[in-house]
Each structure stands twice: as structure tokens, then as C-alpha cells.
């Protein structure tokens, strides 16, 4: 839309209206961000007292930390598997939510629950379900004939991380499915009809007509999801606390442990700065994808 050139007001006129938002964002989002960066260059003793500047010492200690490389590898797996599987499963799920059938509302409302409910509680429930003695999972697996002996999926280091991945995918699905559902709903009915040619053509029609139209929703969901998944703390913390040892830590829970467990605030801050920069890359992608400039014009 080409609008007639609008005379812009000076910023001070807008300031009273924006002040509440600016105070909160500057005071409680940007200030802690600055504090985090500063802390990563400071020498902090074990009780949290600042002893002075440390230059790059915290970063050096972080790089020398032998526990870090496996955590970083696991973080990449965490991100790729959870985001990838979430997207792959969300597409059929969104299609199902969009289909007309008896019980469609039940499905839509059920999928909302893991999104609305506290992550701590959902994770606690899974922890209980997976309890080796009293949990429901062993009971179900035995009744289905899949296992004969009780298993401790969460306690066993070879399976605990896989369990965490599954739970993380479970709680990421609702948001992504709803984003894709919104994308599907924005496709005009005639286009959907045109793509629905019977037989083998229907599949081809889906990938050549529907999927390209869904791509913006898909990319936005991927980027936002990546940020959520990277920051995901409650699922891991409630179910394994990143343990045993650092076996199931991602860089987010690892940073927490280094700060509040080992009391090495400086080193933890340097890792958190790294985490922040990773998220910042995702934000740049998000800005590229989102249409915020268009809304600026209206």
C-alpha cells in the first residue's frame, strides 16, 4: 500500500505513552542482559562477591572445562532432534486438527493442554509415569507384551536422554501444530480443493501446492521453536537435573549448574553469553521471516 507521506511526530510526544513499556524493557530485560555480559568479564568469588575484572579469564576457564564438549554436542542433538521431530509430527497433526470429523474439538482442546499447563507439572507427571517401581509406563509396556522385566528408562544413562527428547517433543508439539493449523486455515478453500485430485495426484498436489503455501508458517514455527527448545529448562531439570553427572545436560541446564551448583558465577556467565548469542542468531532469522515491517506501514 502506498500511503500519502505522513508527517512524523517527534519522539518526545510519544514518550509518555511508551514510558511504561520502555521502563520495564530497559529496566528488567536490557539491564539484566548488560549485567550478564559484564559478569562474564568479572572475577567473582564462590560466595558471589565481585573481586574485580577478570578479562577473558572466565572464557578461558570455560573452554578448558572438560565437561563442556559433551554438553555442547548434546545441545546440538537436543536442538536438531526436538525441533526436527516436532516439525515433522506437527504437519500431520495440523492436518488432522484441520480435518472435519466428529471429535475434532476434543482433539484440538486435548492438544492445548500441554501448551497451557505448567511445564514443571507435565514433566513431573512423566517422571512419575516412568518411575521404575510405581510408574504406569512399565505396567503398560508389560500389558502390551513389549517388555517382561521392569525397566528404569529415566535412571538408565543410555535411555534417559532419549526419554527427555520425547518429553520435549511432546510439549513442543502443541505450539507448532497450532501455528501450522493457522497457516492451513489461511489457505483459501478453492486452492485446497484444486490440490485434492483423487489418487496419486493428491499426494503430489499436496507437496506442490499446499506445502509451499505453508512454508512461511513452517519457518516461523521452526525458528520460534528453536528458541523455546534451546531455552528449555524445566523438562530436563524436573526429570533428571541434567544428571547423572552431566549426562543429560544441555548448555542451558549446564550453565545453571555451574552458577548455582558449583558457584562459579563468572564461568557460568561466559557460557550464558554464548547461549545468548546463539539465541540472537535465531532472532535475526525470525526478524527476516516475520512481516513486522509491513505492519509498520499500515
Amino acid at each position: 500500500m502506498v500511503a500519502a507521506p505522513v508527517k512524523k511526530e517527534p519522539f518526545y510526544k510519544a514518550l509518555p505513552w511508551l514510558s511504561g513499556t520502555l521502563i520495564l524493557i530497559i529496566g528488567f530485560v536490557l539491564w539484566p542482559t548488560l549485567e550478564l555480559f559484564l559478569m562474564s568479564f568479572r572475577a567473582v568469588d564462590i560466595s558471589g562477591l565481585i573481586e574485580g575484572w577478570a578479562g577473558l579469564e572466565n572464557y578461558r576457564a570455560l573452554i578448558a572445562n572438560i565437561d563442556l564438549p559433551p554438553v555442547l554436542r548434546r545441545t546440538v542433538i537436543w536442538l536438531v532432534v526436538v525441533v526436527g521431530m516436532t516439525l515433522a509430527l506437527s504437519l500431520p497433526l495440523a492436518q488432522l486438527m484441520n480435518a472435519k470429523f466428529k471429535g475434532q474439538k476434543v482433539l484440538r482442546y486435548s492438544i492445548i493442554i500441554p501448551w497451557a499447563a505448567s511445564l514443571v507439572i507435565t514433566a513431573t507427571s512423566f517422571k512419575w509415569i516412568l518411575d521404575p517401581y510405581y510408574g504406569m509406563m512399565n505396567l503398560i509396556l508389560k500389558d502390551l507384551g513389549i517388555i517382561n522385566e521392569d525397566v528404569d528408562l529415566l535412571g538408565n544413562p543410555s535411555t534417559s536422554f532419549i526419554v527427555l527428547l520425547v518429553v520435549a517433543i511432546f510439549v513442543s508439539l502443541p505450539f507448532t501444530s497450532y501455528v501450522l493449523l493457522a497457516g492451513l486455515q489461511s489457505i483459501p478453500g478453492e486452492v485446497l480443493e484444486a490440490a485434492k485430485v483423487d489418487g496419486a495426484g493428491a499426494w503430489k498436489g499436496y507437496w506442490t501446492i499446499i506445502f509451499p503455501l505453508l512454508r512461511p508458517a513452517f519457518l516461523v514455527a521452526a525458528v520460534i521453536n528453536a528458541v523455546y527448545v534451546f531455552n528449555s529448562f524445566p523438562v530436563i531439570w524436573v526429570m533428571t537435573k541434567g544428571g547423572p553427572g552431566y549426562e543429560t545436560d544441555t548448555s542451558t541446564t549446564f550453565a545453571y549448574k555451574v552458577a548455582f551448583g558449583d558457584q562459579d558465577i563468572g564461568q557460568s556467565a561466559s557460557l550464558a553469553v554464548g547461549n545468548f548469542l546463539v539465541i540472537f542468531i535465531f532472532i535475526m532469522f525470525f526478524l527476516k521471516l516475520s512481516k513486522w515491517r509491513e505492519s509498520d506501514q499500515t
Binding site: E9, F11, K13, L18, G20, T21, L24, G27, F28, V29, P32, E35, L36, M39, G48, A99, F101, K102, G103, V106, L107, S110, I111, I112, A116, A117, S118, V120, I121, T124, S125, F126, W128, I129, Y133, Y134, N138, Y178, V179, Q185, P216, A217, V220, I224, V227, N231, F233, P234, A255, Y256, A259, A269, F276, I279, F286, L287, K291, W292, S295, D296
Partner: protein
């Protein structure tokens, strides 16, 4: 294909979709159904080996006893207070901003929107050390104020975004007419625009309320005193004990989940557009 054959085919398709759809629904409900079953069990059933799917005896009074057996009353009181206060502060900060951004072109508007959008993606989890440090400096550790301000700040972006899109959808002419009738700019906002944007304000209020209600990591870090902890922190710490009172833990969990799920369903229509900054719908 004949017409009856087509009808039969459509019915079969509908039936299959219903079966698949409801089976999927059960998967998503599974953790919460298990929670309910456990919440209704007597203490003796919890430690049955092997466990049972359903309680042998349904103890509905667990939902009352949760207030005396664990400190659930305190957790709920804290949660409600923090969530309500966060909601009010969030609205006070975001309504004028959302309105002004929707209605006016001013220098710095693009930059303001950019900052809002970028900070939407910032997460308290990454910034925890910075938040902790700031709260120590301000002496706000173990206070409601600290939690409320942090919660309000991190949910502002969504609020401003949703509100400005609601204000934009109200025709400018209505306010202009009010101004011709003698209203000041502020009166036009208060008397005309504000009531018309009520659905947007309610949506925003609910969103902020739920986000603050469920918030975990900041409260976990800042509120070490049980008297200041919301349910997310309080309940998470219960599983650390040797003997976990799972039935009470889950009775409390369900009380904490149900209201927000209902509210969430209420605002679902607007969530996607708010969380993706309008890039999907």
C-alpha cells in the same frame, strides 16, 4: 462411482478420522489422566507394586487435604498474587504503548517496534545470572516485587503486539468524530478506543496472567523462602524428598492446571498471531 458408494466412502473416511483423532487426543491427555488417577488414590495405593491403572477407592477429599498435607495454600496464594499483579502492571505498561503505536507515526517508531520484537525472544533462562545480580543490587531477592517486575517485563512484547493489532482494527474515524465533538485526544482514547479494544485487552490480560502463573525458572532462582514460592517452585521441590506424596502433589497440580487450561482455550484464536508477531495470521 455411484452416489450411495460415495456416501459410504465419506462415512468410512469420517469414522477413520474420528478414531485416529480421538486416539491422538488420548496420547496428549495421557499424563494428565495419570495425574488424576494418582490424585484420587489413597496413600496406600500409591506404593502398590505393580501399580493399578485406576484407584481402588476414589478419595476425592485429597483435593481438600492437599491444603493441609502440603503447603499448597501458600503456593496458591503466592501464585495468584504474583500473576494478578503481573497482569495489572503489564496492562498498564502495554495498553498506552499498543494504542500509540497503532495510531501514530512518530520518529523512532520502527526502532521501538524492533526492540519490542527482539526482546520477545529473550528468555529469562539465559539471562538468569544478570537477573539474579540485578535483583541482589535492588535488594529484591525473595520478594514478590522482583518476580512481578521480571514477569511483566518479559511478557510485554506479546502484549504490545496483540494490543496494537486490536487498536489498528478499530476505525480511526470513530475517534476522530469524538474529537470533533469536543473530546481531547486522551478522552477519545479512554472513552472510545479503550472499550472497543476490550476483547484485545482481555486476551492480553489472560496471556500475561497464564505466563506469570506458570513461570518457573526465575521464581526457582529468586524465591528460596517457601513463604514466597509459587506452586511451580513449591511442587517441584516436593519430589526431592525421600517420601513423595504423589497423590497430594498431583491433586494440587490439577487445581493449578485446570483454570489456566480453560483460560487458554478462551484466547487460543489470538495466540498464534501474537506469538509469531503476525507472521502467520
Amino acid at each position: 462411482m455411484s452416489v450411495p458408494a460415495l456416501i459410504v466412502k465419506r462415512r468410512i473416511k469420517g469414522f477413520i478420522l474420528s478414531v485416529v483423532g480421538l486416539a491422538t487426543a488420548v496420547i496428549f491427555l495421557f499424563p494428565y489422566i495419570t495425574m488424576l488417577s494418582t490424585a484420587l488414590k489413597p496413600k496406600s495405593d500409591i506404593t502398590d507394586i505393580p501399580p493399578t491403572y485406576l484407584p481402588k477407592e476414589y478419595i476425592w477429599s485429597n483435593f481438600i487435604k492437599v491444603f493441609s498435607e502440603i503447603a499448597f495454600g501458600t503456593y496458591m496464594k503466592n501464585t495468584i498474587f504474583i500473576a494478578l499483579a503481573t497482569m495489572i502492571i503489564g496492562l498498564i505498561a502495554s495498553i498506552p504503548a499498543g494504542y500509540y503505536v497503532a495510531r501514530h507515526h512518530f520518529r523512532g517508531r520502527t526502532f521501538f517496534l524492533l526492540v519490542v520484537l527482539i526482546t520477545q525472544m529473550f528468555s529469562p533462562t539465559t539471562l538468569l545470572i544478570g537477573i539474579f545480580r540485578e535483583m541482589s543490587v535492588l535488594d529484591l531477592i525473595n520478594t514478590y516485587t522482583g518476580l512481578i517486575l521480571v514477569n511483566a517485563a518479559f511478557n510485554l512484547a506479546f502484549a504490545v503486539w496483540i494490543l496494537s493489532s486490536f487498536f489498528r482494527s478499530i476505525p480511526k474515524e470513530i475517534e476522530e468524530a469524538a474529537q470533533i465533538d469536543g473530546c481531547t485526544k486522551f478522552q477519545a482514547f479512554r472513552i472510545v478506543a479503550l472499550p472497543l479494544a476490550l476483547p484485545g485487552i482481555v486476551t492480553t490480560a489472560i496471556f500475561i496472567f497464564i505466563a506469570a502463573w506458570n513461570e518457573f525458572v526465575v521464581a526457582y532462582t529468586l524465591a528460596s523462602q517457601p513463604a514466597k514460592q509459587p506452586f511451580s517452585v513449591g511442587l517441584s521441590l516436593l519430589t526431592g524428598y525421600y517420601e513423595v506424596k504423589w497423590n497430594y502433589l498431583f491433586a494440587g497440580s490439577l487445581i493449578a492446571i485446570i483454570p489456566v487450561v480453560l483460560l487458554f482455550i478462551f484466547i487460543e484464536k489470538y495466540l498464534v498471531s501474537g506469538l509469531t508477531a503476525g507472521s502467520v495470521k
